[in-house]
């Protein structure tokens, strides 16, 4: 849609909009008159007065079209959203919020009489609250932003379809000219809607019971270099890392089926490595076989082959799309397979806090869509991650209920309706020397992935894996004994290294490696009591 005209207090300067490019007014009547129509007194089923203006042809502010309802009390079954809105200069925040509500539900840029054929009051999204964002606007270097809350009736959405949910909520509205920027910060998915989703095919509890691994984070690594290895060389990395003590090794997001390694070669050699390592350790091990492909048919074919070879887990990339993710989730549930999701591409829309969709919303969609693992940030590694934001995301994936906690970006109470728990995956620039920080920040229901931190070990891949496993077990043991691992962490690692030369070497090699940059995605919240 387009947004002609300049914006003065309203998104639509009505008279200007009705002027054609040649400056001649159009011939239809302007919606300026405050008419009402008297209905027959005998008609008790209709309102006594009709807001005739509302449906006269032309353009009126979204606010006046019913999309701004400050006294609306959201229903338990409503989908609720919180948008961060940066209006263009001079655009009134309530009108901006109403416009977002309108454009993500029933509105188009002009009045349509066909609204009258529907129960349109119900289908309109209702913006019901707008708050200025702290630290923005006059006196700051940032244009004024607002948090707008919008409620959507459940009837707007198809059951069990992330594609439909997102086509509504983020389908059209993000390019809206009257807004400088728009970000979907959080959503409340009602229990009634969540019950229409399958959720994770296995979830944390079943994953642990299947793998027979309890009480500690799982350990993984991504094969490096991610491109160029032949199947046989690739499998060697998998074998060494699993033998050394990792639970999982992983294909990277862009390892699909390239000239240097066809997917079947990779699957065959990787599963040889997995089974050798199981026999050598007596543990259940896995390799995330990435089944991402150009078509669903190819993905199913690859997943079936992984199953035939006895893999416990397959992997897909976020870029396959929400519907493909839901299809693979159903396949995984049907075939007793763990489903790992790499969030390839997400930073293009999750990282900047003024525009896009926050990752905690993506996490909510993915728990509903149904994945068992999802990459969700590390706090201490090389990739984006403010500690509060990460906590909000991890809780979203793992808890049965997440209460409103503004500092963590959780703007709504969210009941997860017994959907299974998703195992978050921490990956990117982490190493054994950070084990106390990782365990403190991320807890024990997480996969810690040390790619470079395993394969880059000076004594080899197997030693790198052992260093990580020993560091992890020593830290969990110490935490359970009641030691203050946050402060004593480095000493605990040194103690463990006394009986483990690979850990000693790892601590020495990476002792000074940190990625201490300012986060771009932090929470700004208004610490006022919630009215609704």
């Amino acid at each position: 849609m387009t947004s002609p005209g300049r914006h003065k207090g309203s998104l639509w300067n009505t008279r200007e909009n009705l002027i054609g490019t040649d400056n001649r007014p159009f011939t239809f009547s302007l919606p300026m008159k405050q008419d009402t129509v008297e209905l027959p007194a005998s008609d008790r089923t209709r309102p006594a007065k009709l807001p005739y203006d509302r449906y006269r042809s032309g353009v009126i502010p979204y606010r006046s079209m019913g999309y701004w309802q400050p006294d609306y009390v959201p229903a338990e079954t409503d989908v609720l959203t919180l948008f961060r809105i940066t209006p263009q200069e001079g655009v009134d925040p309530e009108e901006a919020a109403a416009a977002v509500a309108g454009e993500s539900s029933t509105a188009t840029w002009t009045v349509v009489w066909t609204d009258r054929l529907t129960a349109c009051e119900r289908y309109r999204a209702k913006a019901y609250r707008v708050d200025p964002v702290a630290g923005t606007g006059p006196g700051t270097s940032t244009p004024q932003q607002y948090f707008a809350r919008i409620a959507y009736d459940l009837a707007l959405f198809e059951e069990g379809s992330i594609a439909n949910l997102t086509a509504s909520i983020i389908g059209n509205v993000f390019g809206f000219k009257a807004l400088r920027a728009l970000r979907l910060e959080d959503m409340r998915l009602p229990v009634a809607y969540l019950k229409t989703f399958q959720g994770p095919p296995s979830g944390i509890v079943i994953e642990r019971e299947r793998l027979d691994k309890f009480g500690r984070p799982l350990l993984g690594a991504t094969v490096k270099p991610k491109l160029g290895l032949s199947g046989k060389n690739y499998g060697r990395v998998v074998y060494e890392a699993l033998l050394g003590g990792l639970d999982f090794v992983k294909d990277d997001e862009n390892i699909n089926s390239q000239p240097f390694m066809h997917w079947r070669d990779r699957f065959l050699f990787a599963m040889e490595a997995v089974n050798r390592a199981c026999a050598d350790t007596g543990e259940v091990k896995g390799h995330y076989l990435n089944v991402t492909a150009g078509t669903m048919e190819n993905m199913y074919e690859r997943a079936e082959f992984a199953k035939e070879l006895g893999s416990v887990i397959v992997m897909i990339d976020l870029v396959v799309g929400y519907t493909a993710i839901q299809s693979m989730s159903r396949w995984a549930r049907k075939n007793d397979m763990l489903l790992h999701l790499h969030r390839a591409g997400h930073s293009t829309y999750t990282r900047q806090k003024t525009h896009g969709v926050s990752f905690r919303v993506i996490a909510k969609w993915m728990r509903a869509a149904g994945v068992d693992h999802i990459h969700a940030g590390t706090v201490v590694g090389k990739l984006e991650g403010d500690p509060n934001i990460i906590r909000g995301i991890y809780d979203t994936l793992r808890e049965p209920f997440t209460p409103e906690r503004l500092p963590e970006g959780l703007f709504f109470d969210q009941d997860w309706a017994d959907l299974r728990k998703v195992m978050p995956v921490a990956s990117g620039g982490i190493h054994a020397g950070q084990m106390h920080q990782l365990l403190s920040y991320l807890g024990e229901d997480v996969v810690l992935q040390f790619g470079g931190g395993t394969i880059g070990h000076p004594m080899g891949i197997r030693a790198g894996a052992t260093a990580n496993r020993v560091a992890l077990e020593a830290m969990v043991l110490a935490r359970n004994e009641g030691r203050d691992i946050w402060n004593e962490g480095p000493r605990i690692l040194q103690e463990a290294a006394r009986h483990c030369a690979p850990l000693e070497a790892a601590l020495e090699t990476w002792k000074d490696v940190t990625f201490d940059y300012l986060s771009t995605d932090t929470v700004d919240f208004v610490a006022t009591p919630t009215a609704c």
Partner: protein, 143 residues
């Protein structure tokens, strides 16, 4: 070989005091502690033999330690593990599980292969010790 199942298999075998502290941690979270043993530690063998019932509502780790030691004395040549079970909603599963005794000699597993279509193989594991009848698998006492 050394079977590395359980939460702490990469650390040196835990001392009595170390085990006791882990028990203390579990009881502090109101988890039910149980002791199990097996002479078939195949990774897919999830049903080890229970030694008595899981202990609910315990406060004293010494009671658990007595149970652990009773099981170890009765089965000196078996694997013994300690599980802590969390009955709270959303979990209802084991939250901590670690080996507290292992046989002196661990012969490990044979990787069996069956050629399949193309280059694929069907894999299976068989414990070398499990080739002998139950009760005769790990000669020599670890206790």
């Amino acid at each position: 070989m050394r079977i590395t199942q359980g939460t702490f298999s990469f650390l040196p075998d835990l001392s009595e005091e170390q085990i006791r502290r882990q028990v203390d941690y579990a009881l502090g979270r109101r988890w039910a502690v149980s002791v199990e043993s097996t002479d078939d530690p195949h990774p897919r063998n999830v049903y080890w033999d229970m030694w008595d019932m899981p202990a609910f509502d315990l406060d004293d780790p010494d009671v658990v330690m007595q149970t652990v030691n009773a099981c170890r004395r009765a089965h000196p040549d078996r694997y013994v593990k300690l599980n802590a079970f969390d009955p709270t909603s959303g979990w209802e599963t084991v939250r901590l599980s670690f080996i507290v005794q292992r046989p002196k000699d661990e012969p490990g597993f044979c990787l069996m292969r069956l050629e399949g279509p193309g280059r694929s193989q069907r894999y299976g594991l068989r414990g070398y010790a499990a080739e002998r009848p139950a009760g005769q698998r790990y000669p020599g006492s670890a206790w």
